[in-house]
């Protein structure tokens, strides 16, 4: 089942898009196949890298043009609005490069979901969110262990002021939070938003197309409505894409700040 078979299916049956549509191999078909989202991400890295290098080549004290202003605004947003506000003005600067990288990488790859001719959100393939989350997971544990020592770190996971009889339960919950639910939610939140949003748009546009081409009676009109909804949802998706990239770096900064803090 693929997009081409659907287009030539011919009136009788509508094959709804499935998760299988997100599997788009370019070379090979196995565990290490080269897939289309890989290509999209590579492209995004090239584009982001080129843009950042070009816009920061000659920075002036007074912003000389809109490009400098834009890149400074974006950088300042992550630097001051996320990193400094959450991690604190003392140590935030070390983590700004990572947060900024993640923000622009996720943002551009999310936006790829509505940008023609790509129209595929890289993060709807869970491997990519997991890769980013893995880095965050290792980073915030490493910071905590480096800061407090291995024993000290595991001791610091326990919040202060818990009644003695609750300590084992709370500690287990904290362990679960730090080692399971945090990385799991961080990766799945990004993945699921992109996956579901793209799936919805697929259904609306493919279903609309099917109704328009093969529907009888008033059904083609319903196809038009479906297209309109698809358009509306695309704009909504735009919002979600920006929001999710912000949430990802916001949570990353929060986890880093938590590992840096003395108290839980």
């Amino acid at each position: 089942m693929s997009l081409s078979t659907l287009a030539t299916a011919g009136g009788e049956t509508f094959e709804a898009p499935t998760p299988g549509d997100f599997w788009q191999p370019l070379i090979g078909n196995g565990d290490f196949a080269i897939t289309r989202p890989m290509f999209v991400m590579a492209l995004s890295v090239v584009v982001i890298g080129a843009l950042l290098l070009a816009t920061t080549k000659r920075l002036t004290v007074v912003p000389a043009n809109k490009k400098q202003f834009a890149v400074e605004a974006l950088y300042g947003f992550v630097r001051n609005g996320v990193a400094r506000d959450i991690i604190g003005s003392k140590e935030f600067l070390r983590y700004v490069p990572l947060l900024f990288t993640m923000f622009v990488l996720i943002l551009v790859n999310n936006l790829a979901g509505v940008i023609p001719p790509i129209q595929f959100p890289t993060m709807s393939r869970i491997g990519f969110p997991i890769a980013l989350t893995l880095v965050v997971f290792v980073l915030y544990h490493a910071i905590g262990i480096k800061r407090k020592g291995l024993g000290g770190y595991f001791k610091s996971l326990m919040p202060a002021g818990v009644p003695v009889f609750l300590v084992p339960v709370v500690y287990l919950l904290e362990l679960f939070t730090y080692f399971v639910s945090r990385p799991l939610t961080l990766a799945v939140r990004l993945f699921a938003n992109m996956f579901a949003g793209h799936m919805l748009i697929l259904v609306l546009f493919l279903g609309g197309e099917h109704l328009l081409l093969h529907g009888e009676g008033l059904l083609p009109a319903a196809g038009v409505v479906s297209y309109l909804f698809g358009l509306v949802m695309s704009f909504f998706e735009l919002l979600i894409q920006v929001l999710q990239s912000y949430i990802f770096v916001l949570l990353t900064a929060t986890y880093i700040a938590g590992s840096l803090a003395d108290e839980h």
Binding site: G20, P25, N29, D31, F32, V45, L53, T101, R125, V188
Partner: protein, 192 residues
Amino acid sequence: MPAWVMAAAAEEEGGFWETAYPVLPHPGELIAGLVFLALLYLLVAKVVVPRLEKAFEERREAIQGGVEKAERAQAEANAALQEYKAQLADARGEANRIREEARQQGAAILAEMREQAQAEAERITVSARATIEAERAQAAAQLRAEVGRLATDLASRIVGESLQEPARQSGVVDRFLAELESTSSPQGVTSR
């Protein structure tokens, strides 16, 4: 079955990954994600962020320099204002002092003038009194001579007896006048 046979069979059917749950990470994509993140991170951390931070720092310094300059100007203006105020106070004090001095001098001059006028008046009074006294004395002397002569004339005419000899005349007149003064002096006001 060897792995490559399985892989080939899977490829013929459309592949494991096409029907796999979407929450299963594709290893290739996971590795690609890590690699691309690392690549972009290196670029951002080594080149982009240092450039931006440098620009931020320069801007911060420029702004701080401006602020410092403004503060310096403010301080200078304040100092000048203090100086002007001090000068103004000085000038005011000086004016007050001069006014006070003038007032005192005026008073002194007035007092002196008054004293002089007083003295002058005194002097004039004294000299007038002396003149009057002298004139009175002169008038009295003349009068005495005149009255004597008239009296003797009158007496000689009445008595018929010539009392022309000066010695007699003087003796009689003096006696007469002395008598006259002694009778009139108890009343006390005739001499003035």
